[in-house]
Amino acid sequence: MSEMALLLGLLVVSYLGSILLSGRALRGYGLPSGTEWVVLGFVIGPYGFAAVPNDSWTGFAPMAAVATAWLALAMGVEYGYAGDKRASLRGFLLGISFALVTTAAVGSAVFAITLYWIRLPFDQAWLISAGLGLCSAETTRHVVRWVGEHGVGESALLSRIEEIADTDEIVPLFGLAVLFASLPTSSTSVQLSFGVWLAVTAALGVGLGTTCAMLIAGQRDGNDSWSVLLGAALLGTGIAWRLDISPLTVMFVMGIVLGLLSRHALTLREMLTKTESPVLLPTLLLGGALVRFEAPGLGWIIASALVARTLIRGLLGYLLGWTNGLTNRQRTLLGFGMSSSGAVTMLVGLAFGFRFPGPVGNTVLSAAACMTALGELLGPSGLRRALVRTEPPPPPSAATDQAVVSP
C-alpha cells in the first residue's frame, strides 16, 4: 500500500468521523473512546497485516503531530466548560486532584518497576515513568458524554464527573511542558535554564492566542478565522518542535487565551468542536499503527502501569461514590468507571513517541494504547452501571411548569 493509499484511507476515516459527529446515519455507533481505531491501526500496522510499510507510517508523523496539536487547541478553547456550562470551582479542583494523584501513583509504580525490576538506566526510567504518569491522568470526557446519552439521566454526580473529565487534561498537558522544558534540547544553539524554557512555552501560547484573538476580532467572515487559526496552530506547533518544547501545551495555552480574550469565543468553540471527531479518529488510527512492542521489559512496564492506574482510579472513584451516597457496589463500579481513557492519553503517548524516538517513546506510546484499550473495557460499562438510577429524576421545577402553561 502506498503513502497515497494511506492518505486516502485516513481521509475516509476522517470522513466517517465527521459523519459520526454530524448526527447522520451513524450517530451512536462506535466505542466511546474511539479505541477501535487504535486497534484498527495496530491491526493494519507492522504487527498485524503489515499492510503499510514502516516508512509510510513514519512519513505521516508530521501530520499526526499537527493533528494532536489541533486537538490540544480545541481542548484549550473548550477548557473549563462541561458541555455548555462553566465547570464549578469544586469540579475544577477535583479534576486536577484526581489527575495529580493518578499521575503520581502510576508514575511511582512504573518508576519502581523500571528502575529496580527491569533495571533500566535512571534517565530512561524517569522519562518512562513520567510519561506513563501523564498518560494515565485523564478521565475521557467522550465516555462520560456517551454514558450520559445511553440510558443514564442527568444527575448531580454525572455533572460532577463531567466536570472532572473536562478539567483534568490541564495536568498532563502542563506536565508535558514541565518535562520537556527540564530536558536538554538537541536542536537549539542556546542552552537556557528550565524556568526560561517553561516561560518560552507559556509565552508562545499566550502570544499566539493574543495575536489570534486580535486578528479574529477584525475578520469579516469565518473563512478568514479558519486561516488565522490554522496558520497560528501550524506555526506554534512547528516552532515548539524546533525548540524541543511541548507543542501540545503551547496549543492548549493558546486555546485557553483565545477562549478568554476573543469576543468570538463561543463561535470558535463551535467551530473547533466540529473538527474534533474528524481529526481525532485518524490520529487514533495513526497512533495505533505507530505502536512498537520492542522495548526491553515492556510487558512488565505496561502491566505495572495498568494495575496501578486501575487501583488508584478505583480508589478515587470509590471515594467519589462514597461522598455522593452511592451503595458499596456502585462505588466499586464507579471506581472502574473512572478508569476510562482515550484522546488525551493517546495524545501524550504520541507526543512522547515523536519527542523521544526509540525505546522511551515506543514504551510510552504502546502503554498508552493499552491503557486506552483497558479503559474502554472497564470505563463505559462501569460508569453506566454505577450511575443508573442513582438519583430519581428531578421533579419539574415551578419555573418550567410556568413556562409550559404560559402562552
Binding site: 497515497m4 492518505l7 486516502l8 481521509l11 475516509v12 476522517s14 470522513y15 465527521s18 459523519i19 454530524s22 447522520r24 512519513g59 508523523a61 508530521p62 503531530a65 499537527v66 536542536s187 537549539t188 544553539s189 542556546v190 508562545l204 502570544g207 495575536t211 486580535m214 486578528l215 476580532a217 477584525g218 473563512n223 478568514d224 479558519w226 486561516s227 488565522v228 490554522l230 496558520g231 497560528a232 496552530a233 501550524l234 506555526l235 506554534g236 506547533t237 512547528g238 516552532i239 518542535w241 524546533r242 525548540l243 474528524p278 515523536f354
Partner: protein, 462 residues
C-alpha cells in the same frame, strides 16, 4: 457623511495596525526560532513553514491592500522575502516538502476554472474568445519566439545550437509565452468581486485558453523535436499518445464531474474531505494513467456547473478550501523563486517579459477589434493575460524533461520570467478592474448567484 466615515476609517486603520503588529510578531518569532535552531533537520520543519506562510501571507495581503497591492502579489512577496534565497525563514527542504500543496492547489484551480466556464457565459463571448485565442496563439507565439531568437546570444544554454534547433527552442518559448495564470485570475476576481465585460471576458478567456495551451505545448514538443534533434522524426505514436491523453482526460473528467454532481446533490456534506481526496488521490491516479490532471479537473468542474445545478456548491467549497491552500501555494511559489538566478538573468528576463507583454497587447488589440468587442475589453482586455504562475512552470518542467540537453537552462529562464510576470500581472489586472469601475460590483464570483441552471421556484405556502 464625514461623521459616518470617520469611525469606519479609524476602525480600518486600527485593524491594519493590528495586522501589521501581527505580521511583525510572526516574522519575529520565526526569525528568532530559525536563528537559534540553525541545525534543525527533520520532517517537522515543514509544519512551521506552512503555518508561517499562511499566517504571514494573509496578514501581509491585508496590510498591503491599503497601498493597492493585490493579495496574490503579497503572498508571493512574503514567500520571496522568507524564502531560502533571502531571510531563509523557510528552507529549501521545506519548499520541496510543500510540493503536495501545489498538486492540491492546481486541482482546485482547475475545478473552479471549469465550474466558472458556464455555457451562458461562454456563448455571448464565443466570437471574442475565438478571435482572441487565434491572435494570441499566432501573434503572441511568433512575437515571443522572435524576441527569444533576438536574445539568444545572451543565453548560455543556446550557444552552439544550429539555426533550426534555435528556431525549435524559440517556438517552445513562444508557446510557453501564451500560457496564462488561471489561479492569478481567479485570485484577483475573488478579491475584487467585479462584474462587467472585462471581468467576464477575463474569466472566460483565461480558463478556456488553458485547454488550448495544454494541447499546443504537447503538440509543439512533438513537432519541434526533429528541428532540435535531426536524428529524430515526428513520431505518429506521440500524436496518438496526445490524442489518448486528451480523450482520456475529458472522458474521465466527465465521469468525475457527474459523480461529483451526484454527491453534491445527494450528500453535499464534508466537501473539504472530498476535495482533498480528489486533489491528492485522483491526481495520483491520473499520473499513473498518463492523463492530464488540468484537463480532467477542468472538465469535471465544467460538467458540474453545466449539467447540474450544483455548480455554486462546488465553487463555494473550492473557495473555502482555497482560502487556505492558495495562500500557501503562492507563498511557496515566491519562496521557490531563485533570486540569484533572476539577478543573473535580469537583462534578458526583462527583455523577454517586456516583449511578451508587447506581443500580448498587440495580439489582443487585433483580435478584439476583429471580434468587435466592447471598448472596455478592447482597451483593457490584455491586462489579465500578463500573469503567469504554476501552469507555466509546470509546462516548463515538461519541456525540461522532453529536452534534457538544454532543458535546465530553458526552465531557469522560464522561472525568472514567470517571476516578473507573476509579480506585475496581478497588479496590472487589478488596476484594469479598478480603472474600468468593475471592482466591487460583486455578482460574477458570488456563489449565491452562480446557479448555472436557475434554481426551482419555491411555491408559496398556501
Amino acid at each position: 457623511m464625514s461623521h459616518a466615515a470617520t469611525p469606519s476609517t479609524q476602525s480600518l486603520a486600527v485593524t491594519r495596525l493590528i495586522q501589521l503588529f501581527g505580521l511583525i510578531v510572526v516574522f519575529g518569532a520565526v526569525y528568532v526560532t530559525t536563528r537559534i535552531t540553525p541545525a534543525f533537520e527533520g520532517s517537522f520543519g515543514v509544519i512551521s513553514a506552512v503555518g508561517f506562510l499562511l499566517l504571514a501571507g494573509m496578514l501581509a495581503s491585508s496590510v498591503l491592500e491599503s497601498v493597492g497591492l493585490p493579495h496574490l502579489t503579497a503572498y508571493i512577496l512574503v514567500g520571496v522575502v522568507a524564502g531560502p534565497h533571502a531571510l531563509h525563514l523557510v528552507d529549501h527542504q521545506a519548499v520541496i516538502d510543500l510540493a503536495p500543496v501545489n498538486t492540491l492547489a492546481l486541482a482546485l484551480i482547475a475545478l473552479a476554472g471549469g465550474a466558472e466556464l458556464r455555457v451562458p457565459l461562454l456563448l455571448p463571448l464565443r466570437r471574442s474568445l475565438s478571435w482572441t485565442t487565434l491572435m494570441q496563439c499566432a501573434i503572441g507565439t511568433v512575437g515571443a519566439s522572435a524576441a527569444f531568437l533576438a536574445a539568444s546570444r545572451l543565453l548560455p544554454f543556446t550557444h552552439g545550437q544550429s539555426i533550426s534547433a534555435l528556431i525549435g527552442i524559440a517556438l517552445l518559448w513562444g508557446v510557453l509565452a501564451v500560457s496564462r495564470s488561471p489561479s492569478a485570475t481567479l485570485g484577483i476576481l475573488a478579491q475584487t468581486r467585479p462584474d462587467g465585460p472585462l471581468s467576464r471576458f477575463s474569466l472566460a478567456f483565461v480558463m478556456s485558453s488553458d485547454i488550448v495551451v495544454a494541447v499546443l505545448v504537447t503538440l509543439t514538443i512533438t513537432l519541434v523535436r526533429p528541428l532540435i534533434d535531426p536524428a529524430t522524426g515526428i513520431a505518429l505514436k506521440d500524436l496518438m499518445a496526445l490524442w489518448h491523453e486528451i480523450l482520456g482526460s475529458i472522458t474521465l473528467g466527465t465521469t468525475v464531474g457527474l459523480l461529483l454532481a451526484l454527491y453534491l446533490w445527494l450528500v453535499s456534506g464534508q466537501l473539504l474531505l472530498v476535495l482533498l481526496a480528489l486533489g491528492f488521490g485522483l491526481t495520483e491516479g491520473l499520473r499513473y494513467l498518463h492523463f492530464d490532471p488540468l484537463l480532467t479537473f477542468l472538465t469535471a468542474g465544467f460538467v458540474v456547473a453545466n449539467l447540474s445545478n450544483q455548480g455554486h456548491k462546488l465553487l463555494h467549497a473550492v473557495e473555502e478550501t482555497g482560502s487556505v491552500v492558495f495562500v500557501v501555494f503562492f507563498a511557496t511559489a515566491g519562496a521557490h523563486l531563485d533570486v540569484p538566478l533572476v539577478k543573473q538573468l535580469w537583462p534578458v528576463t526583462l527583455l523577454l517579459a517586456g516583449s511578451r507583454v508587447f506581443a500580448t497587447v498587440v495580439a489582443h488589440r487585433v483580435g478584439s477589434r476583429l471580434a468587435q468587442d466592447p471598448p472596455i475589453v478592447q482597451r483593457w482586455g490584455w491586462a489579465p493575460l500578463v500573469s503567469q504562475a504554476g501552469l507555466t512552470l509546470g509546462m516548463s518542467a515538461l519541456i525540461e524533461r522532453a529536452f534534457p540537453t538544454f532543458g535546465a537552462g530553458f526552465r531557469s529562464l522560464a522561472v525568472a520570467t514567470v517571476a516578473v510576470n507573476e509579480l506585475i500581472g496581478p497588479v496590472l489586472f487589478k488596476l484594469a478592474l479598478d480603472k474600468t469601475g468593475e471592482s466591487g460590483k460583486g455578482a460574477l464570483l458570488d456563489p449565491a448567484t452562480r446557479h448555472s441552471v436557475p434554481p426551482p421556484a419555491v411555491a408559496p405556502h398556501t
